[in-house]
């Protein structure tokens, strides 16, 4: 057991206690949390800073407005409804079209107008928000997924998570939905996490439920050596989120849109640690490296440069 602890320390694995004590508690001031916990505020902030986010169609804040939702969404045939303070992808409803008076969900199921109203009411009552406090419902642009992950995701939303420490992107992975995860990109629900080499933007290693896998269980396609187009711009986008939120240690979630390129989905003040397993590498050494040499890098470009130089994947793809 002690040997295991030493082994983890040698690999620079970051534990939950250390992440909390030395990174999130120390570098993420509490008053900034609402900025990232509330997706509406994140979105407004990002839009003001010129950072690309899915376009906001409208917000429903009080129960009385719920009936107006149909008029509000009339111009858009496709849209996404999500709680502003939701977590783990709960309460997100993706509408891909209409059929008469009904809305069509991505899986083809039709829901009535009152079903949609009920869903919005549920969001307002805080059904999906963190502490159960009243929430707002956001209506936004439905992302048209870039084809890069099409072969290795089962429905749902593959998103790219980049850990940004003091503005430097230190580690990254893409979360791929599976049939078992119900199309959700949550690792603990059975989604696949594939580590991405910061230097090249290539997937190097993939895990599911803590064990390495080579191919997607539903599509059968190889998970590694997928090159993400425009990797440099993704890193730039992630790096600029440091100034945006003010958080020293954060997880940036990005989706790739076919037409609009990378868009920021949300920021996370307490990003999980499973990304280390997906990359087959610990975070701690990279964080220390940034603390030592990467503090004074002024521009996002310099920070991205620093990251690509120092955080190239050490573990070649294992298949």
């Amino acid at each position: 057991m002690i040997r295991l602890a030493r082994g983890l320390a040698a690999a620079g694995v970051l534990g939950l206690n250390r992440r909390n004590a030395q990174y999130t508690l120390a570098l993420n001031p509490r008053h900034l949390y609402p900025l990232v916990d509330d997706k509406l505020r994140t979105k407004q902030l990002a839009a003001r800073a010129g950072i690309a986010v899915p376009e906001l169609y409208g917000v429903i804040e009080i129960e009385r407005q719920v009936r107006d939702v149909h008029a509000l969404m009339a111009p858009h045939s496709e849209f996404v409804v999500k709680p502003a303070q939701g977590s783990g992808g709960d309460g997100i409803l993706v509408i891909s079209g209409r059929s008469g008076d009904c809305y069509r969900k991505v899986d083809g199921e039709l829901i009535s107008r009152s079903d949609l109203e009920h869903h919005v009411s549920g969001i307002l009552s805080g059904m999906y928000s963190l502490g159960g406090q009243p929430d707002r419902a956001l209506f936004e642009y439905r992302v048209q997924f870039a084809p890069v992950f099409e072969a290795i995701s089962y429905r749902g939303v593959p998103d790219i998570r980049i850990i940004v420490f003091l503005g430097v992107p230190v580690m990254s992975m893409v979360r791929l939905p599976t049939r078992a995860s119900g199309g959700k990109a949550n690792l603990h629900q059975g989604a696949i996490g594939a580590g991405i080499d910061i230097a090249t933007g290539t997937t190097v290693n993939a895990v599911r439920a803590n064990s390495q896998i080579g191919r997607h269980p539903d599509t059968g396609n190889p998970l590694t050596s997928i090159v993400i187009p425009g990797w440099e711009s993704l890193l730039m986008l992630a790096s600029s989120c440091h100034a945006l939120s003010g958080l020293g240690y954060q997880g940036v979630d990005i989706v790739l849109d076919r037409d609009k390129g990378p868009l920021i989905l949300e920021l996370n003040a307490r990003p999980g640690l499973n990304i280390q397993i997906a990359n087959g590498d610990g975070l701690l050494r990279r964080l220390r490296r940034v603390e030592r040499d990467g503090r004074d890098l002024a521009s996002p470009a310099a920070r991205v440069q620093f990251a690509r130089e120092h955080f190239a994947a050490v573990v070649p793809s294992v298949i």
Binding site: M1, L8, V13, G15, L16, R18, G88, S125, Q189, N210
Partner: protein, 506 residues
């Protein structure tokens, strides 16, 4: 980093705790371990009668504190009756009276008796000569003859008393003694005669009526012995051999009176009952101990009223449970529902007993979860949904209590002690985890919570620990110091070693 400040603060707290602890235990002699000999007993007398046409008066002999026993928390249950307590020749008396009453009536007297650990068992310091009979003249010559005979065969008051008792208890007593005892003498009669004879001989003596402090005797009869004043101390003589009194005998009243006297009633009876009450043993140890220091004694928790003490006895154990919880969560990495839920459940286990507690907890949570998962389909809004779960939990608890009561399982009633809001929140969180992460994860976290609750129960019910934190509450500063330090523990959690094991390098 402010680590130095943290170490300093923790060190300071630990220092204060240990210094006070050392001073109290080494210098003041506060006991480190609960005294096994000291005990609490609950005493109850019930008096049944049917009032007649005249005003009713019932007088009951009630015990009083001595150097060996403390009588406290006295409680008289006597609806509709006037109550007065007074001192008489035979000790304390409670007198209930009523001008008019009808129908069968039961009056209760309840008290808690503490056996004090200190003090000699054989003799007591002089007390007022309660219950010493008046010398009577009627059977004078007869009595004098017996006294003379016994005196001739003894050396001092003690041997005289023994000899006298032996004479009176003989199966074939001699003529004079037989006349004094009358027909079919009882043990009580023999002791009563002995007291009168001794008084006549100029030796203060009295009959004592008491009970034996024994576990769970529902109907117990008073026992009787003799007390004789020898060299300013009352000595007890018991039984035919005049043995000294074992210390489990509790003296109740003295003299020739019966324990209860009735006036104006048509039928009457009375019962004594006694039961051990263990929860206050710690208090007993302390008060019987050597706490003489005025200041510290003043600030001791033992100055609080008994009920409040009982509450603090439980409350002071909570920090230990919480420390355990911190260790389990932050060092081991066990996942639990709600931060302090396991500790609160452990508190409930204290009342229900462990096995029953676990069974009841599983039943309530399991059934609540089933209902909650059904409610999920109704797509209720959050607050009404939580409220519904809470209502269901309370109904479940009521049904469980009813069922177990009907089946004669009184333990099931204690389900009411479960913190129902906590249970409702547990069910809510468990169902969310169930939805989001699957049944296996919900089950794992549920088991984790239960596991920590059982451990916390184990820690929080250790009698030695209970005694320590109650007598030395400053030790909780030590717990605080440890908790503060754990607040900056940045090492791996034990279960993380397993989680990240694939990443380990040689």
């Amino acid at each position: 980093m402010n680590m130095r400040r943290l170490y300093l603060l923790s060190g300071l707290l630990a220092g204060i705790a240990l210094a006070t602890f050392a001073y109290k235990s080494l210098v003041l002699g506060f006991p480190l371990l609960p005294d096994a000999r000291s005990e609490y007993w609950n005493l109850e007398v019930s008096v049944d009668f049917t009032p007649g046409d005249e005003p009713v008066q019932v007088s009951l002999q009630i015990p009083e504190s001595s150097s060996r026993f403390a009588v406290m928390d006295e409680n008289f249950i006597s609806r509709g009756y006037g109550l007065m307590t007074r001192r008489t020749d035979s000790g304390r008396q409670a007198v209930w009276s009523s001008r008019m009453d009808e129908g069968e009536k039961t009056l209760y007297y309840r008290a808690r008796i503490r056996r004090l650990p200190a003090g000699g068992v054989g003799a007591q310091p002089p007390a007022p000569e309660v219950g010493v009979p008046e010398p009577d003249e009627v059977s004078g010559p007869l009595a004098d003859a017996v006294i003379e005979e016994v005196r001739a065969r003894s050396a001092d008051t003690e041997s005289l008393t023994r000899e006298l008792i032996a004479q009176l208890h003989r199966s074939q007593p001699d003529e004079n003694v037989a006349l004094l005892l009358g027909e079919a003498p009882t043990g009580l009669r023999a002791m009563s005669v002995a007291a009168r004879l001794l008084v006549r001989a100029g030796i203060p003596a009295r009959v004592v009526h008491g009970i034996r402090l024994q576990e769970q005797r529902q109907l117990l009869a008073p026992v009787h012995w003799l007390e004789v004043l020898i060299e300013d101390r009352w000595w007890s003589f018991m039984g035919a051999a005049g043995e000294s009194l074992p210390d489990e005998f509790f003296p109740w009243w003295r003299g020739d009176q019966p324990p209860v006297r009735f006036r104006g009633v048509t039928s009457q009876s009375y019962h004594f009952a006694i039961s051990r009450s263990a929860e206050m043993a710690v208090t007993a140890a302390i008060e019987g101990g050597r706490i003489r220091h005025p200041l510290l004694a003043e600030f001791s928790l033992f100055r609080l009223p008994l009920e409040t003490q009982a509450i603090y006895q439980i409350l002071l154990m909570v920090p230990l449970g919480v420390l355990l919880l911190v260790i389990m969560r932050n060092v081991i990495g066990v996942k639990t529902f709600g931060t302090f839920m396991p500790v609160l459940i452990a508190l409930a286990f204290r009342e229900t007993q462990l096995l029953w507690g676990i069974v009841l907890f599983c039943i309530v949570v399991g059934m609540g979860l089933a209902v909650r998962l059904y409610l999920e389909r109704l797509k209720l809004l959050m607050v009404p949904r939580l409220a519904s779960v809470l209502i269901v939990v309370i109904l479940l608890m009521a049904v469980l209590s009813l069922l177990s009561h009907r089946m004669g399982l009184e333990r099931g009633l204690s389900v009411a002690l479960f913190p129902m809001v906590i249970l409702a929140m547990t069910i809510e969180r468990m169902s969310i985890v169930w939805e989001e992460r699957g049944a296996a994860e919900a089950f794992r976290q549920g088991m984790g919570s239960l596991f920590v609750a059982v451990l916390a129960y184990g820690v929080m019910t250790r009698e030695t620990l209970e005694h320590l934190v109650f007598v030395f509450p400053e030790l909780l500063l030590l717990v605080l110091a440890a908790t503060l330090l754990l607040g900056r523990y940045t090492g791996y959690r034990l279960l993380e070693l397993y989680r990240f094991r694939v990443l380990a390098r040689e």
